[in-house]
């Protein structure tokens, strides 16, 4: 079974739906760990630092982004951890998934920023193409 599931979260409704699917799959086994991954986007680093009153406040803001997905998983009583990465969301998720030999990547089909996705293409599409493990894209 899938032992290490990477769930990409960004605070969006899609990420919550993805979390629900992750719970369904993880629930099939007792040893499955869901790794909730949030990528702090390089593009937003300046603005994030400027608007945070301290480092702890910055960390809290980012933890809040995974909160809705975290709640779904926590409520289902499934083992999980939260990982915060820094970089460009698509490539960073791919790198992390491949380096840590994740068994399955679950990601929402569309994140928060629709405009950006129209321009640079969707993160989920990029991830699907380049991870070495199966990927589940949740509509």
């Amino acid at each position: 079974m899938y032992k290490h599931i990477l769930l990409a979260a960004d605070g969006s409704e899609n990420a919550v739906r993805a979390a629900k699917e992750a719970v369904k799959i993880a629930g099939l086994s007792n040893e499955t760990l869901i790794d909730i991954v949030y990528v702090a986007d390089f593009e937003k680093a300046k603005s994030d630092v400027l608007h945070a009153s301290s480092n702890s406040a910055l960390l809290l803001e980012r933890r809040k982004k995974v909160q809705n997905a975290e709640q779904v998983i926590n409520a289902a009583g499934i083992m999980y951890k939260v990982t915060i990465l820094h970089g460009i969301p698509g490539p960073e998720i791919i790198k992390y998934a491949n380096e840590n030999q994740v068994d399955l990547v679950i990601i929402g089909s569309r994140g928060l920023n629709k405009l950006q996705e129209m321009v640079i293409g969707s993160v989920s599409h990029k991830v699907m193409k380049r991870v070495h493990c199966p990927a589940l894209i949740v509509k």
Binding site: A40, F42, A45, K46, S47, D48, V49, L50, H51, A52, S53, S54, L58, H86, I88, V119, I120
Partner: protein
């Protein structure tokens, strides 16, 4: 924190590549900031070379890029205009000395007292001033000028989607300079505004009289440069810390900035500091270590030595287009939601910082005013004590100290109290100083005169201690 070896050679390939990218992106900015300051482009280029190379060795934040910057250039405009380049070089050396002193005095701690409202105002004001400095170079010159600015903007905003490795501003420069040269259109060039000399900087003492008079002229500028330089450098280092998920030595960075400016002044460079935009480019391009900063500085100088005579042919409108991009990138676009969502006082502090900077053209004045204003707001906020009455029970909420003492006493002076015994509850309060204690004993006296018995409850440990120390004779609780 990493070892020195890791900081230098932990990421050789990434550092060399990103250093080259940064050098390419740095050249137009170094030239544009020189023009803003009113000096030859060489002054900004020498500064960028010297600062980057020195800071690579002595800085506290590996992977951060420091060079000639807009914030510093804007501060030195009046000095250059009234007294000339030599005084600027002397001021740069003094800036370095002040920054070293600040660094030794652990100035990074003080940075924590600068609220983010002021920092947001700072970057916004900087963006506005950089934009305003471009206006005279494109407004009402010629139709061709407008066209070149527009095409430059189109290139720098669309090209990065297709070409990721080479910085778009460089591509814009190469394409548009070529077009300008071969089509023979009438455009002002960098060469019209100053010279590029294809030579390495050399060690020189600034040619100013070594006197108190000189010190009087340069000191105010040096102090402002030192403060603004450290402010931007420490903000940038926080951003690089965040992007790379590592920590850095802020006080070492402050000293490093000082050493870099000190040396830079002797080699004919203008004062500089860390650059947010370039540091972000560096990290995004894979730069992490000290080597990236060194390569950026060295490669920049190499390019000027080799291509100096081409650089002077770059049309001004292209440079203006790039600087408009820089100002748009510097501006904090989250500020508009911030104005709506942040506490009213924070929004006012942010706006005040922007307005004062744009008004005075001096970033240090805006920061100072912003810090003072937010300090006043803070005192006003915590000096309001709220007293909630429940029958004979008076609950004090808020801090009792010199600023809130009077309002506390006045409450009980004016209150219409019917009960013969009351309790004043300090569970949600704290007494900070003599004034707080005095206010309390004054209130007790006041109520005693009215024939009301008072019981004080809920004082926390430190408050009790200070009350006993100062109010030993009438401890009635």
């Amino acid at each position: 924190m990493q070892t020195i070896k890791q900081q230098w050679f932990g990421n050789v390939r990434g550092d060399i590549l990103s250093g080259i990218v940064v050098a390419l992106a740095l050249i137009p900015e170094a030239i544009a900031f020189s023009i803003i300051a009113g000096v030859d482009p060489m002054v900004g280029l020498y500064a960028s070379f010297c600062i980057a190379v020195v800071i690579a060795f002595v800085g506290g934040r590996p992977g951060m890029i420091s060079a000639a910057t807009g914030a510093m250039a804007l501060l030195m405009v009046p000095l250059v205009k009234d007294h000339g380049l030599e005084y600027l070089l002397a001021a740069t050396i003094l800036t370095g000395i002040i920054q070293i002193v600040f660094g030794v005095c652990k100035v990074a701690k003080i940075m924590k007292f600068i609220p983010n409202a002021v920092m947001i105002g700072f970057v916004n004001a900087l963006a506005i001033l950089i934009f305003m400095a471009q206006v005279p170079h494109f407004l009402g010159i010629s139709t061709m000028t407008y066209i070149f600015v527009a095409v430059t903007l189109i290139i720098v905003y669309t090209l990065p989607r297709f070409v990721k490795v080479i910085p778009a501003p460089l591509i814009a420069i190469v394409i548009l300079t070529t077009i300008a040269i071969f089509s023979g259109v009438e455009l002002r060039t960098i060469g019209d505004l100053g010279n590029i000399s294809q030579s390495l900087p050399s060690f020189l003492l600034p040619n100013v009289p070594f006197s108190l008079e000189t010190l009087k002229i340069i000191f105010p500028y040096s102090l402002a440069l030192a403060i603004v330089g450290l402010l931007e450098s420490l903000l940038t280092s926080q951003i690089v810390d965040d992007m790379t998920a590592t920590e850095s030595d802020k006080n070492k960075e402050a000293r490093g900035q000082g050493i870099a400016n000190f040396i830079n002044g002797f080699f004919g460079g203008m004062a500089g500091c860390a650059m947010i935009g370039q540091s972000v480019i560096n990290v995004k391009s894979g730069g992490r270590g000290r080597l990236s900063t060194l390569v950026a500085g060295m490669f920049l100088m190499f390019l000027i030595l080799v291509l100096g005579n081409l650089v002077v042919q770059i049309p001004m409108p292209v440079l203006v287009g790039i600087m408009i991009m820089v100002s748009i990138g510097t501006f904090d676009w989250g500020s508009f939601t911030y104005l709506v969502k942040a506490p009213r006082t924070d929004a006012i502090v942010m706006l005040a910082t922007v307005v004062i900077v744009v008004w005075t053209h001096d970033l240090s004045k805006g920061v100072l005013a912003g810090v003072l204003l937010s300090a006043i707001f803070f005192v006003v906020k915590i000096s309001t004590t709220n007293i909630i009455k429940q029958d004979m029970h008076y609950m004090v909420e808020g801090q009792l100290f010199f600023a809130s003492a009077d309002s506390f006493v006045n409450y009980f002076k004016n209150a219409d109290i019917q009960e013969k015994t009351i309790t004043i509850d300090f569970s949600n309060s704290h007494i900070w100083d003599d004034s707080g204690v005095a206010a309390l004993s004054k209130t007790k006296d006041l109520l005693r005169e009215k024939g009301i018995k008072v019981e004080i409850v809920g004082l926390d440990g430190p408050s009790q201690k200070i009350v006993q120390q100062l109010d030993g004779m009438s401890s009635s609780h």
